[in-house]
Amino acid sequence: MSLLSVRDLTVSFPTSDGVVRAVRGLSFDVEAGQTLGIVGETGSGKSVSALSLLGLNPGADVSGSAVFEGKELLSLRPEQLREVRGAEIAMIFQDPLSSLHPYYRVGWQICEAIRTHRRASRAEAMRQAVELLRLVSIPQPERRVQAFPHELSGGMRQRAMIAMALALRPKLLIADEPTTALDATVQAQLMELLGGMQRELGMAMIVITHDLGLVATVADSVLVMYAGRGAERADYRTIFHSPHHPYTRGLLASIPGAAGSGGRLVPIVGQPPSLIRIPSGCAFHPRCPFAMDVCVRDQPAFVPVSGGEGHLSACWLPPDAVGVDPASDGARRRFVEGRRGPAIARLRSAISGARAGGGVANG
């Protein structure tokens, strides 16, 4: 049984401009000791879905199911959820400066996390805090426990966050863009630290990122999100070498140095959609080079495709349309020929008429 099993998670925010449908029926599993990478662009719903699991989205309408070790997270009372949060599921955020409290010393904040969940004297908790800071390679930890967050560098702050998250030895760590604001060499330090922790503690991780390089380095399996839904899910090799969904395929072609890219980059035209006005059918269809009439009309289901075991994709292309090579692109193109009718023609003329999309000129 999976450590965490999320089914049909839906999150929306009522706003004055309309309902923002941030997550629209997302399902995924996290196995004990494994790392799931969730990849997506701004507004794909990747952070919102993680925050919703821990009840950290006040004001949102959340439905669906998220079972963690037999407990249904979405129906826990706030005080029950508080016991899970931090102790069993910990989270680290992108910006450690805004997630550490600026008024309190770093050591105090780590002690607070420990003493909320465990019976420990102040001195004992402080001793642990020093030990944890030493563990995450913060120099002079005895002094640094007395430091305020602004006195630490970005890398050190993120390490302090990791120390806090690991203080209680959680079974699941959710890392939301853990290295985005950091330099490459600091990223490498942190990922080595997290990897070591994971091996030793047998902890599972969800790494939420827009960085395909990070996913290629640390993830066991990958979930690609687009406009609040899962677009594709597979083990990391399949995602990079035999992707099925044209969005995944497009991401790989647009990143310098990615597997399967070479020479000139091929950008995805246009930009991610507004979550208030999500396109009909498959939300990716206005940007998809393989869009067919059916894509405009009907939303594809998240179904098994042939890239490998457990490979799921939400796309109307045939299940065997996987790969990143020109031959597989050719097969995709041949398939969509004859399946593009009036709906695609309307879409084309709307785009060339308005020319509003930033990338249309390049497409």
Partner: protein, 382 residues
């Protein structure tokens, strides 16, 4: 570098610049550029108590039509150097020679004709455009300031620029807030292009953009380079992007260039231990490469540029440091066996195929020890 896969919209009036003379020398030459920022204390009598040595003696030549990438981590001085090139910062010492003319000491009015020929594109497409002004006037500003075009002629030229960078000319009267990040960066590109510059300094031009949009801007910059014969100084912290766009790359650490070479040469056989560590730390979006590569993890943080280490500035974190490194600063020079354009500032350069080992025991060893010592946090474990 540039291939003609997807042509940019043909420009009517924006004719390509005449091809540069083959022996016209480099477009830009930096000679020993130094930039210090004073740190002052006191209210009435501001005493200088120290200085941030942001750029410390950088020499670099940029040839016509090439793209030079500048890489380095936060605080290495790459953005300060960019601002020194365009004279947005006065230099503390050294010279900036643009197209054969020393522009270091020119007054603002003397500088103006040269400003026309060197433009900047900034990282943040939200912060670099005035939210209260319309796109047309933002892009038209350079034309107005330099008295190039007025009235309907200015509007015509601006709309042409918008078309060149892939914006809809009908959006002339819109505000920046009505555009997405990628489109705003196109506005920034159009503004930089308005005066038909020879040199564009791009300071992290794609870092703030979504992955799928990054490629649109990178391709646009490449197309424009081909069409208008532009020379780029391209600053980025994403090594894969720099590798993709640059002809040559310079690596900076704490205000100094530590290594410089043709792109393929630098990425293929880095000689400076810092370059090697930086390259090994970058995570490429290719699982086989990302997992097989031997990662050199550097420990500690970049030292403060207020008080940089003696000798080689990297010696405090260098896995190969010897006593000599803390005493004597290595010159930037061609190392034995390297091609002429490959310069490295290191006493003990990395040999081809050599594996660097981290200077301290691996973090994972510390973790193992911590778990074994088990400080009692393991309450309620089965």
């Amino acid at each position: 570098m540039v291939d003609a896969g997807v042509p940019v919209t043909p420009a009517r009036d924006l004719q390509p610049l005449p091809a540069p003379l083959p022996d016209a020398g480099p477009l830009l030459r930096l000679e020993n550029v130094v930039k210090h920022f004073p740190i002052k204390r006191g209210i009435f009598f501001k005493r200088q108590v120290g200085r941030v040595q942001a750029v410390e003696g950088v020499s670099l030549e940029v040839r016509r039509g090439e793209t030079v990438g500048l890489v380095g981590e936060t605080g290495c001085g790459k953005s300060t150097l960019a601002r020194c090139i365009t004279r947005l910062h006065p230099l503390t010492a050294g010279r900036v020679v643009f197209d054969g003319v020393d522009i270091t000491q020119l007054s603002a009015s003397q500088l103006r004709p040269y400003r026309r020929r060197m433009q900047m594109i900034f990282q943040d497409p939200f912060g670099s455009l005035n939210p209260r002004r319309r796109v047309g006037s933002i892009i038209g500003d350079p034309l107005a300031i330099h008295g190039i075009a007025d009235g309907p002629e200015r509007k015509r030229q601006v709309q042409e620029l918008m078309e060149v960078v892939g914006l809809n000319p009908e959006h002339y009267n819109r505000f920046p807030s009505e555009f997405s990040g990628g489109q705003r960066q196109r506005i920034g590109v159009a503004r930089a292009l308005a005066l038909r510059p020879s040199l564009i300094v791009c300071d992290e031009p794609v870092s703030a953009l979504d992955v799928s949009v990054q490629a649109q801007i990178i391709n646009l910059l490449e197309d424009l380079q081909g069409e208008f014969g532009l020379t780029y100084v391209f600053i980025a912290h994403d090594l894969a992007v720099v590798e993709h766009v640059s002809d040559r790359v310079a690596v900076m650490y704490l205000g100094k260039i530590v290594e410089m070479a043709e792109t393929a040469e630098l990425f293929g056989s880095p000689r400076h231990p810092y370059t090697a560590a930086l390259l090994s730390a970058s995570m490429v979006a290719d699982p086989e490469k990302a997992r097989s590569s031997h990662r050199v993890v550097l420990y500690g943080d970049v030292p403060s540029p207020i008080n940089p280490p003696s000798g080689c500035r990297f010696h405090t974190r260098c896995p190969k440091a010897q006593p000599l490194c803390s005493v004597e600063e290595p010159p930037l020079r061609v190392q034995p066996g390297d091609p002429g354009g490959h310069l490295t500032a290191c006493h003990f350069p990395v040999a081809p195929g050599e594996r660097l080992v981290g200077a301290e025991p691996a973090i994972s060893a510390a973790v193992t020890e911590y778990v074994a010592s088990s400080p009692g946090a393991e309450e309620g474990t089965p």
